[in-house]
């Protein structure tokens, strides 16, 4: 069995070059034209950015809508959007635009606007990936290895992996699939984690927990 090579990653954030959004209509217009990486950053890369893990909303659009626009209703609708549930960024973009357009229609002719200094800045990032030199030799060694992983490793192997081939699959499950049926319960348990609303620390603890649970049952 080929061992699992543990990678780590670090995020470097930069301005996207798009003008900031001062109101909900601006937000809609910018989301319609921004690069896929911008959308991906605001939905998926926030756990690696030096920001507080907002327990209420997991993406920047929902946080801004609540905290700056003061629109709790739209924030709730945006906050529940799970970007990993979409097959493509195009679908994620369409769904996000649909929610904002619906809200704009509900509020017409009023367009919620922020105070100066509260605008939404569009960002993107480069993720630098590097080998840790560490490996998981066998699936039974996974719980121990995962417990020791950095946030960057958890992000790269569990979340970022879903954008790579095979799309929508975490690296651990992809590796376990290569080992045949013996570790199918592991794949099922990992697949059942409702991960989008967990912080990276909670996610690491949860993966560790479900794998330990299976070991105990075995």
């Amino acid at each position: 069995m080929k061992p699992f090579a543990i990678k780590d990653c670090a995020l470097l954030v930069r301005m996207s070059g798009l003008p900031p959004a001062y109101n909900l209509r601006d937000l809609r217009e910018r989301i319609a034209v921004c690069a896929d990486d911008v959308l991906y950053h605001h939905f998926c890369e926030t756990p690696l950015r030096p920001t507080f893990d907002n327990p209420d909303y997991r993406n920047d659009f929902a946080v801004w809508t609540r905290k700056c626009l003061g629109d709790r209703m739209l924030a709730e609708r945006l906050g529940i959007v799970d970007p990993y549930a979409f097959e493509s960024t195009a679908q994620l973009r369409a769904a996000t635009l649909d929610l904002i357009e619906e809200r704009l229609a509900e509020l017409t002719p009023w367009v919620p606007t922020v105070r100066p200094g509260r605008e939404f800045f569009f960002l993107e990032a480069t993720t630098v990936v590097f080998d840790t030199g560490e490996q998981i030799p066998h699936p039974l060694a996974m719980p121990h290895a995962i417990r020791k992983m950095t946030d960057g490793s958890v992000f790269f192997h569990f979340l970022e992996s879903r954008r790579r081939h095979p799309v929508g699959v975490d690296d651990f499950s992809a590796w376990l699939r290569e080992t045949g049926d013996e570790f199918h319960p592991y794949i099922e348990a990992i697949g059942a984690i409702d991960f989008y609303f967990l912080t990276l620390k909670q996610l690491r603890a949860e993966i560790h927990r479900v794998l330990i649970e299976i070991e105990v049952m075995r």
């Binding site: 670090a10 070059g17 991906y40 030096p50 990936v129």
Partner: protein, 412 residues
């Protein structure tokens, strides 16, 4: 004392140090030169003092060069600094020419040290024109803006921009600080050094000595605001909040900071604060020298609640320092305080003395929440605002810039 990376293992965690070593290995041997305008005093010199040895520890051939200039040169760069922060100031064509000329002289002096560097980091506006005198430069040049240029006085920004736009990249501390430029603009937040005098763990003796020195009452909860005597820090508003609390709950207040020595506005604000305090024995107004790091550290550690009721703020590293000491922070809803204080999690954001008083009372009546928020704040800082994260982002940035990466994923 020069610290090495391994000294930070206990506070930042083994994995953070391991990550830095792995990233450092990918760029080890690179010649990196930092250039700024002073070796002593100010936030940039403070950062470079820890960053240079730690970069060397990671295997980077790192040096720190300082430009030299006349008194007039520094008056001009101070004017540029003020203009970038929005003040309506004037510089003549002759002033701009002198700004440029002093940099040309420095370029001649520093050429052999920086022309062949792989990465040159130019800090703030003073040395910005150096780039244009390095026609044979080999490496990547990055302009690091430590100041807020979000609302500059346009003629000053226009004058400076011509020197900035030729850089390969720039770095800003917060997205709100940036200006559009024709190259990648990276975001790297500031950080604190957990082992510095301002943040290290203090002995009981050091704490007791400060407690006694300022005659604090051991039976009263202690509210502390550390900041310059500056209207933007709203010290008078903090006293008003204290009085509102004091009506129902016994409490004492410390307002400590510098900034009144040679600063006419600082003196005026200090006088206003003393008047507002009105001789109340439970309000301690302390004018501290700029090197009173241990005393500031002690006051933050002795505090029950830390206040930073600014009405305008940069990143707000005093908030970061307080949170690192496990204190909930009641902060003004402005600037970088918003990036650190989250209602009911690490403290409370407020906009008025009444709001501050309300939150102080809430916390004094829910002592368990003080500990919970303090713990959450400390872990938030550990994960995000220690110098290890700052260093990791610089290493990442160097890798991205030297490899000319524009794609989302860069494997090194």
């Amino acid at each position: 004392m020069t610290l090495s990376l391994s000294d930070y293992r206990d506070v930042a965690g083994m994995s953070a140090i391991r990550e830095l070593r792995l990233l450092g290995d990918k760029i080890a041997g690179a010649k990196v030169v930092h250039v700024n305008s002073t070796r002593e005093g100010g936030g940039v010199a403070e950062i470079l003092r820890w960053m240079i040895p730690l970069m060397r520890d990671l295997g980077l051939d790192t040096t720190w060069e300082v430009i030299e200039g006349t008194e007039r040169f520094y008056e001009i760069t101070k004017t540029i600094h003020n203009g970038l922060q929005g003040q309506q100031v004037y510089l003549s064509a002759k002033d701009w020419a002198m700004y440029c000329e002093v940099n040309r002289e420095n370029a001649d002096r520093l050429r052999s040290k920086i022309e062949d560097a792989d990465i040159v980091l130019i800090h703030d506006p003073q040395p910005a024109p150096l780039l244009q005198f390095m026609e044979k430069r080999k490496g990547k040049w990055i302009w690091r803006a430590h100041i807020d240029v979000s609302h500059p006085y346009r003629p000053i920004w226009k004058g400076l921009r011509q020197y900035i736009q030729g850089y390969d990249a720039s770095i800003f501390s917060m997205m709100e600080y940036a200006q559009p430029l024709p190259h990648p603009e990276f975001l790297v937040a500031p950080s604190i050094d957990p082992l510095s005098d301002k943040n290290r763990i203090l002995t009981q003796q050091e704490l007791s000595s400060v407690f006694a020195e300022y005659n604090l009452d051991p039976d009263l909860p202690l509210l502390v605001q550390i900041s310059r005597f500056d209207r933007f820090k709203d010290p008078v508003g903090v006293i008003q909040a204290y009085r509102l609390v004091r009506k129902v709950t016994p409490v004492q207040l410390v307002l400590a900071g510098g900034g009144a020595n040679d600063d006419p506005e600082g003196k005026a604000v200090l006088a206003e604060v003393m008047e507002e305090a009105g001789g109340d024995p439970d309000i301690h107004v302390l004018l501290l020298p700029s090197d009173a790091h241990v005393r500031i550290n002690a006051l933050q550690r002795l505090a029950t609640i830390v206040i930073q009721k600014s009405i305008k703020e940069g990143f707000g590293l005093t908030v970061t320092e307080a949170m690192w000491k496990g204190k909930p922070v009641i902060g003004g809803d402005v600037g970088g305080i918003r990036l650190q204080v989250f209602n009911h999690h690490t403290g409370f954001l407020v906009s008025t003395p009444e709001g501050a008083a309300h939150r102080i009372r809430y916390l004094l009546h829910h002592r368990d929440r003080i500990d919970q928020m303090g713990d959450a704040g400390r872990e938030f800082v550990r994960d995000n605002f220690l110098l290890t994260r700052h260093l990791r982002e610089y290493l990442t940035l160097m890798l991205v810039v030297t490899k000319g990466a524009t794609q989302r994923l860069l494997t090194v």
